[in-house]
């Protein structure tokens, strides 16, 4: 009996395969469209996860706490003297001033991120060298005036292939010259792609920020588990100052990518919905030939469940192949083409979009979610109409 059933199921599977082959043009069309929808969804999910991972990895180098002065809900320059007021808080290792701003290049219509640092004052300043592909961050005693370490896209944007000097405009339109002393590694592109790091004094000069003021104060703590406690104490000591902790910044990045991914996913889900409607329309309007085939099979002794099994296997084979093709294409798209289709959506307020080397990650939950959104509706869209057709009297479908 078991052997009989197994043989029957194999025959049904064989019939399903041959049916797909017999309708190969239609099967191939569905496979391609279905595969394309899965490719889009999987690419999006992979690239979002990869970007989140990348951001988490790179943000390790950011200060544990960043302070910004707020006035009327907007950020303004913070006095260096605020750092002195934190002296009494136990657990603070060092307070380092920083200038962080954006420089708009009118010629290239691009925003560069400018960061002025005193690397020598940073507790882990020497470690920053590990983020560089070439050159070094300035050492104490170096003549650091006018040096710059730049991100990958800056090299291209400023056309620095054959030279190592460039100039930026001050607010009074006078030119300030820089010499390139280092270039960030491509692995850090997600944060450094459009970044120019310079001496704090140079940044102050470039942006014409008065002495005694900076845009942020970076607070380094002795014990990372105390970050939240110290942040709370700082808030109490300096009311009116925005206190940003590293976990908060990491969370913000996750939210930003999550939001962008969500926005993109909604657009893609519309495509998916269109596909499901199309599949439903196609399948529910079974052609007279298909209805006739079902009727013939019933007359010859096929059970309703056998006919459903054929449709089920056909759908499983098509959707399984579509998943395989779609996910493989998504992996190739993300790894070898750096998710070029989605970069405008996922990476960019700047026209200098990072050319990241992404390592895609797709968790089992994500795969199940994609399957739930694609395979299940497709199965329903194909099996239900077949069931409806298989439960009407066979002779009526034959028109006898």
């Amino acid at each position: 009996m078991a052997r009989h059933n197994l043989e029957k199921q194999l025959n049904i599977l064989e019939y399903a395969l041959s049916s797909l082959w017999r309708h190969r043009l239609k099967s191939l069309s569905v496979l391609l469209v279905f595969g394309a929808v899965i490719f889009l969804l999987a690419s999006f999910q992979m690239v979002t996860q990869a970007l989140s991972d990348k951001a988490k990895q790179v943000l390790v180098h950011t200060p544990e706490i960043t302070l910004q002065k707020m006035s009327a809900g907007r950020q303004e320059a913070i006095p260096l003297a605020y750092g002195d007021k934190l002296a009494g808080i136990f657990g603070i290792r060092r307070v380092v001033p920083r200038i962080w701003g954006y420089y708009f290049d009118e010629v290239r219509l691009a925003n560069y991120t400018v960061m002025g640092l005193e690397v020598a004052e940073m507790p882990e300043g020497a470690r920053l060298d590990t983020t560089l592909a070439k050159g070094t961050m300035p050492r104490p005693g170096d003549d650091a005036q006018g040096w710059a370490v730049i991100g990958y896209s800056i090299t291209n944007a400023l056309d620095l292939a054959g030279r190592d000097t460039f100039s930026l405009f001050r607010p009074d339109l006078s030119l300030k010259p820089f010499v390139v002393r280092g270039e960030f590694s491509r692995d850090t592109d997600i944060l450094t792609n459009d970044l120019i790091v310079m001496n704090l004094a140079d940044a102050r000069d470039l942006f014409a920020i008065p002495a005694g003021l900076v845009t942020d104060l970076c607070v380094y703590v002795a014990n990372p588990t105390e970050i939240e406690t110290i942040a709370k104490k700082i808030s109490e000591t300096l009311p009116g100052v925005r206190v940003l902790t590293r976990p908060q910044i990491q969370k913000t990045y996750q939210v930003v990518f999550g939001w962008r991914s969500g926005f993109g996913s909604i657009c893609l889900l519309s495509a998916l919905a269109a596909f499901v409607i199309l599949a439903w329309d196609k399948a529910s309007g079974l052609s007279p030939e298909e209805r006739r085939e079902i009727a013939i099979l019933k007359i010859l002794g096929w059970e309703t469940s056998d006919i459903l099994a054929v449709r089920f296997w056909e759908s499983v084979i098509v959707s399984g192949l579509a998943c395989l093709v779609g996910m493989t294409a998504a992996y190739i798209h993300v790894v070898y083409y750096a998710a070029s289709l989605f970069r405008p959506v996922l990476m960019g307020w700047s026209v200098l979009r990072p050319n990241l080397h992404l390592l895609p990650r797709l968790a089992a939950g994500d795969i199940l979610l994609i399957l739930a959104f694609t395979v299940l509706p497709y199965l329903a869209a194909t099996v239900i109409p077949a069931w409806r057709s298989a439960t009407v009297p066979a002779d009526s479908a034959l028109g006898g």
């Binding site: 085939e293 007359i299 010859l300």
Partner: protein, 229 residues
């Protein structure tokens, strides 16, 4: 029910709505068919003979009455049991070819065997039956490559592949030329002599005359009448 009875219809009725009225396609039919009988039911188009075949074959359910095949009532069975009965006991020949156009002749003929009980040598059997209907050289052809009459002969060959106890045939010789018709009726006779029961509905009154010992009925407006008495 007699021991030898293979088909029994009791008070069988079926109506269809046509516009505002209900048409009695089959009207209180009582029929008893013994194993090895050859029944010919004559009737004009629309007399209800095709509906009667569908009711006997369990393809459609009656409004009232019962159909017994080998003592088992069709509509008291599960879908699975009814399908198994159709598959193992009945061969259908419809008035149109009813072939699947994307399957070859051989694949169409083997279709009833797709249930895990493919006897060894079923292809040989199929070729043998194809030879008997004069289409041995068309095993790999597709229905679209055959004439209407050839398609009909493939459908006839398919109905015999499971060696069924009963053949239900609706206008089996409708598209056939005289020569082929003779061959097919001879084939029916051979199978009938081996014990296969035939219920053939047709408007061709000559067909009854060609089958020795055939029980002949006529059908008119859903009512079945024996021509024997």
């Amino acid at each position: 029910m007699g021991k030898n009875v293979i088909i029994e219809c009791k008070e069988l009725s079926k109506t269809y709505p046509v516009e505002a009225t209900m048409v009695h396609a089959v009207n209180t039919v009582n029929l008893s068919v013994n194993k090895g009988d050859f029944l010919v039911i004559l009737g004009h188009s629309g007399s209800g003979k095709t509906t009667l075949l569908s009711l006997i074959g369990g393809l459609t359910s009656p409004d009232s009455g019962q159909v017994f095949i080998d003592g088992v009532e069709n509509w008291q069975q599960s879908d699975q049991a009814l399908s198994t009965m159709r598959n193992s006991k009945i061969g259908f020949i419809f008035q149109f070819a009813s072939l699947i156009p994307t399957l070859s002749v051989m694949e169409n003929i083997l279709l009833p065997l797709s249930f895990g009980h493919n006897p060894a040598g079923s292809r040989d059997l199929a070729l043998d039956i194809l030879d008997q209907v004069g289409l041995a050289d068309k095993a790999n052809a597709f229905p679209s490559q055959l004439s209407g009459g050839q398609q009909r002969r493939v459908a006839i060959a398919r109905s015999f592949i499971n060696c069924p106890d009963i053949i239900l045939a609706d206008e089996p010789t409708g598209d056939l030329d005289e020569e082929t018709e003779k061959d097919i009726l001879a084939l029916f006779r051979r199978y009938n002599e081996q014990g296969t029961t035939f219920v053939v509905v047709t408007h061709n009154s000559d067909l009854a005359a060609t089958q020795k010992g055939a029980r002949v009925f006529s059908m008119r407006q859903g009512v079945l009448t024996s021509q024997a008495g």
